[in-house]
C-alpha cells in the first residue's frame, strides 16, 4: 500500500511561512488568495492486508513520530500500490 500523509500547522498556530507565501502571491496579483498554510507531505510504502490496516498503522506512526499534535494536524490517503 502507498500511504500519503499531509501534515499542516494547526488552525490558530501562527504559520509565518504560509503568511509569507500569501503575501508573495498577493504581490504577484493573485488577489483571490485567502489564508495559506504550509505543511509537509510524506509518502510511505506499507505492507498491509487492507487499506484499513495500512491507515491504522500509519496513524500510529503519525501519533508517535511523524506529526506533533501540539502544533500540527494530519490526514491520510491510502492507495493500492
Amino acid at each position: 500500500m502507498l500511504v500519503k500523509v499531509f501534515i499542516t500547522p494547526k488552525r490558530g498556530v501562527l504559520d509565518p511561512q504560509g503568511r509569507a507565501i500569501e503575501h508573495s502571491l498577493k504581490s504577484l496579483g493573485f488577489n483571490n488568495v485567502g489564508q495559506v498554510r504550509m505543511g509537509k507531505y510524506i509518502e510511505l510504502e506499507v505492507a498491509a492486508a487492507s487499506s484499513e490496516e495500512a491507515a491504522s498503522e500509519v496513524k500510529r506512526m503519525c501519533d508517535q513520530l511523524l506529526a506533533n499534535s501540539v502544533i500540527e494536524d494530519y490526514r491520510l490517503e491510502v492507495e493500492r500500490a
Binding site: P9, V13, L14, P16, Q17, A20, L65, L66, N68, V70, I71
Partner: protein, 229 residues
C-alpha cells in the same frame, strides 16, 4: 555533584557546556554518548544546543528516540534534574518532558544576538541563585525558538509559576519588540510541573566569562549547584 552532558550526532554546544562546567565552575562533568544508556551517576543531565540528527522532520524529533533519552526520561520521572538548552529544549518538548513546542521564528530568520530575559520565578532548582525579577543578558542563536502551547496548558503553567524566563526590554517589560522570535507570552524558558526539568532557548553556557561578552549564564549553573549542595 556530578554533571553529564549528552552528545547527539549534530550537537554543537556540548563542549561549550563542558567548558563552562569544568573550566569555569570547576565541576565534575563528563560527556555522555547518545548510544549509551548509562548516565554515569550524573546528578544533573544537560541536553546541549545544536542540530541533533540534522533536525530532520522536526527539531528534536529524532533525538527523542536515541538510547540515552530512554535513561534521561526515566531519570527525569524519578525527579532527576535535566537542563535543556536550545536544541535540548526542543528535545525535551518532543520527549513530552516539557509541555508545548518550539516552532519557526516569527521573522522566518535565524536569529543570533544578545537578548535580555527576566527571571520570573526564583524558587526553583534552576533559578534559585537569582532573584525574581532579575534581568539576565544572554545570547540566543536559533531558527525555531517560538514557544507555543495550548491555551489551557499555558494558563496552568502561568498559575503554577512554570514560566521561569521571559524575554523583556531594558526596563524589564515583556513587550512585543523585546520578543525576538514571537514566542507566546514572551516565553524564553519553562519548567515542568514538578520543577526538575527546565528548557530554555538562550545559551547560559555561552555567557560564563566577561571575555565572552558577559557571565550572566553562570546564574543558571550556580542555581543547580546550590540546589543540590
Amino acid at each position: 555533584m556530578k554533571w553529564g552532558v549528552v552528545t547527539f550526532p549534530g550537537s554543537l554546544d556540548d563542549r561549550d557546556a563542558l567548558f563552562a562546567l569544568r573550566d569555569v565552575l570547576e565541576q565534575d562533568a563528563e560527556l555522555l554518548w547518545h548510544k549509551d544508556r548509562d548516565l554515569r551517576n550524573a546528578d544533573c543531565v544537560v541536553l546541549p544546543g545544536g542540530f541533533s540528527y540534522g533536525d530532520y522532520l522536526r527539531c528534536g524529533a529524532m533525538a527523542r528516540f536515541s538510547p540515552v533519552m530512554e535513561s534521561v526520561v526515566d531519570f527525569a520521572r524519578r525527579g532527576g534534574l535535566v537542563l535543556g538548552i536550545c536544541n535540548g529544549f526542543q528535545i525535551l518538548c518532543e520527549a513530552h518532558l516539557l509541555p508545548g513546542a518550539l516552532t519557526r521564528n516569527r521573522s522566518l530568520s535565524f536569529i543570533c544576538e544578545r537578548i535580555i530575559v527576566k527571571v520570573e520565578n526564583s524558587q526553583t532548582p534552576f533559578t534559585c541563585a537569582a532573584d525574581s525579577g532579575e534581568l539576565l543578558r544572554l545570547p540566543i542563536k536559533h531558527g525555531e525558538g517560538r514557544y507555543v502551547a495550548p491555551a489551557d496548558e499555558l494558563r496552568r503553567m502561568e498559575d503554577r509559576g512554570q514560566i521561569l524566563l521571559r524575554y523583556v526590554d531594558q526596563n524589564g517589560e515583556a513587550t512585543d519588540s523585546a520578543n525576538p522570535n514571537g514566542s507566546t507570552h514572551c516565553i524564553a524558558g519553562v519548567a515542568n510541573d514538578t520543577f526538575n526539568v527546565f528548557g530554555l532557548m538562550p545559551h547560559p553556557e555561552h555567557a560564563v566569562e566577561p571575555m565572552l561578552g558577559g557571565d550572566d549564564g553562570i546564574r543558571i549553573f550556580r542555581s543547580i549547584i546550590q540546589s543540590l549542595g
